[in-house]
């Protein structure tokens, strides 16, 4: 983070826009009307306010292929790259009529034959055909996924930088782990460390859970760690728009861990090695699901792998998407957050989540965070 609000760097913006325009050409899309902030950030390179959770769809960024211009909803020019001049900014509005008039005034949009959106609401689904009667309204997500899933070298730099912040904040959090500390306090320690490192936006706010199968904390079960517990950390930050996530499990009392617990960590490592091995170019994503079967671990209901970039990217590999996993092929340049998650009869869990870059050869693990028992206590 800097001392002023800056747009993404030129090289990063250029690399992403080239990919986005190429994907538009490939998919025959003449214009994009984007509501998802990750897509808008990808093409525009502008910083806008971060909020947590899903947002309702609304046009926030427009890309016109014929003019090559990017238009943004922003009332001010702070954080907006200079290649998006003032004429291409439109102030925040609550008035659909004004929004529609703006869209219709954008040069080249009315002439577009195929307009892609990254989602819709029922209201916009009805409004767009009236606003652009000559255009076919198409789903732009496949095109955007094509662009986003292979990372430019500038993006890898951004992801690694986000990972370093997540790892550093995690190390600080693990250092405070002791009997009596609550999940809630561990989350607060992580947030504080992250913000002190200059990043004020988390990717996930679960952060820590104690002992058993992960579940979102509620007031009743923000639990307190005891000496024999295992604490799993799912630590993620959003830095420069990019998500850096790392997952680790630490025993509360690092000395005198019983053989059963050691065995659980060993199973997690074995699963993890199989998962990383499955991240080969040309391999189907179902290899990641098979890795769980090979070690006899039931698949978790959350994704075992998902693309890292501006938020979640394709592919998303999950137990409930088996056909998707069978037909999606890994390619060099994808970055995946790969999760090994093992449980035992006592409902104890060990989590190991790393960022993995698919290359032409063996996968490259981008995460460097220490883990128990191989590394020293941070």
């Amino acid at each position: 983070m800097a001392t002023e609000v800056l747009p993404d760097e030129l090289a990063l913006r250029t690399a992403r826009r080239q990919r986005a325009f190429a994907a538009m050409d490939e998919h025959g899309i003449d214009a994009l009307v984007l509501g998802r902030e990750a897509n808008a950030r990808y093409v525009a390179g502008a910083q806008r306010l971060w909020t947590a959770g899903t947002r309702p769809f609304g046009p926030g960024c427009v890309v016109v292929r014929s003019t090559g211009r990017i238009h943004l909803v922003s009332t001010w020019d702070e954080g907006i790259p200079e290649d998006i001049p003032h004429e291409q900014l439109f102030g925040i509005t609550w008035n659909p009529g004004r929004l529609f008039a703006w869209l219709q005034s954008i040069e080249g949009l009315a002439e577009a034959r195929r307009i892609g959106t990254d989602s819709l609401t029922p209201g916009f689904a009805r409004a767009f055909p009236r606003l652009f009667p000559h255009a076919e309204l198409v789903d732009a997500e496949p095109a955007l996924e094509d662009a986003r899933r292979i990372k430019a070298s500038e993006e890898l730099v951004a992801i690694k930088s986000a990972l370093r912040v997540a790892e550093s904040a995690l190390a600080h959090t693990v250092a405070t782990l002791r009997p009596g500390v609550s999940e809630r306090t561990l989350a607060g320690v992580f947030m504080e460390a992250m913000a002190r490192l200059g990043v004020t936006t988390p990717a996930t706010q679960q952060v820590a859970w104690i002992s058993s199968v992960p579940r979102p904390p509620s007031r009743q079960d923000w639990r307190v760690a005891s000496a024999d517990d295992l604490v799993s950390f799912d630590a993620g930050v959003v830095a420069g728009g990019y998500v850096g996530e790392v997952g680790r499990t630490w025993p509360v009392r690092r000395q005198a861990v019983d053989a059963g617990t050691e065995g659980l960590f060993q199973r997690a490592d074995e699963l993890w090695a199989r998962l990383v091995d499955a991240c080969r170019p040309g391999a189907a994503c179902e290899g990641l699901l098979d890795a769980y079967r090979a070690v006899g671990q039931e698949l978790p209901s959350f994704p075992v792998a998902s693309g890292l970039g501006l938020g979640f990217d394709a592919p998303v590999v999950a137990a409930s998407l088996p056909r998707t996993a069978a037909t999606t092929v890994l390619e060099p340049g994808m970055v995946l957050a790969v999760t090994a998650f093992v449980t035992d009869q006592r409902h104890r869990a060990v989590l190991r989540k790393d960022a993995v870059l698919v290359t032409d050869g063996a996968a490259e693990v981008l995460t460097t965070a220490p883990r128990w028992p191989d590394d020293h206590v941070p």
Binding site: E4, F90, L120, A195, V199, P303, S306, G311, R323
Partner: protein, 390 residues
Amino acid sequence: MQRDRRIRLAAAMAEHAVDALVLLGNSNVAYATGARWPLSDPGRANIERPVAVVVAEDDDPHLFTTFPELGLLDLGLPEDHVHGPLYLDFDEGARDLARFLAELLPPGARVAIDELPGAVRRHCASCFADGGPASADDVVGSAKLVKTPDELGFLRRALAITEQAIAPTQAALVPGMRQNELTASFLRAAFDLGADANVLDPIWQVMPDRLADGPWTTHGDIACPLLTTERVLERGDVLWVDTGISYAGFASDFGRTWIVGASPTPRQEAQFRAWREIVDAVLEVTRAGATAADLTRAARDAASGERQPWMAHFYLAHGLGIDSAEPPFIGTDLGDAYDERQVLAAGTVLVLEPLVWEDGIGGYRAEEVVVVTEEGTISLTDYPYDPYGH
């Protein structure tokens, strides 16, 4: 609380002639099911999101989640109403939803949904009536407009956590501190006090004295909120503070003006008094049955000068509760005629956020959270206005 919401939702569904709701938006799912989870980055939240299906004749909602045990243990939902996750950005997930709805609903059922990802449009068209689905946001929006006493209790707690976390943060503010260090202090304290999640990147905006010294804007008016950086705060900097957290599915909102390491000048103090007069004038007319236009008129009349006493790109007031900004929105660019038609109901929670600006001197802005009653309003917060108001 969920029983009360169920009744409100059923009434709203009847009013909108809807047989079933399919909810993808985090806050709509939280409202309809009572499910509670720490909100993640929107990029991740789009994919890994719980989904709810509410059927008019069924007392319990269906919940699709990556944490099925949550629904069983915490929400008391019947086992056959709790399902594994639906990934609705994917064809496979959207097909699963279409199959589920086809089994659950009679042919011709009128379905409302709050978002239509491409895969849902491709595979669920047969689930919706001709002309497409109705807007579930409209249905949930009208249900949540009025808060029940239980809901107000949770909201008060969310607001109290926020203010208790702000207090040590404000106390630590000294010249030389960085903006992001204020965020660090606030987030640490908020989580210690029981917050489930941070809901927006907290704002500690250093305000210029003159608009010309701030960024260019589309409307020539104030640019706000501007993002937090590692900027070092200097003595005398005027900060516009805006933040909020979520707790048990409720969102808080907090806004004040602070001065770094200094007391307000007489001119600054006068701005605070002028702001207070605007708030008092608005509260004077705020009650069940008043229109939104009554509030904007009161604010304009109380403000000296030509300037509209709130941000041109926002509003004089917004609703609060499930989202950190939710209907009603009062004083937007929808205009006076729209506000004349918005009638306030008892139980609606409002955040009043007028401001005072004098170009060359700067301005004062703070937020006042109240619940509308038949007789007037009840304040939900009591955080001091320091260093102003002495």
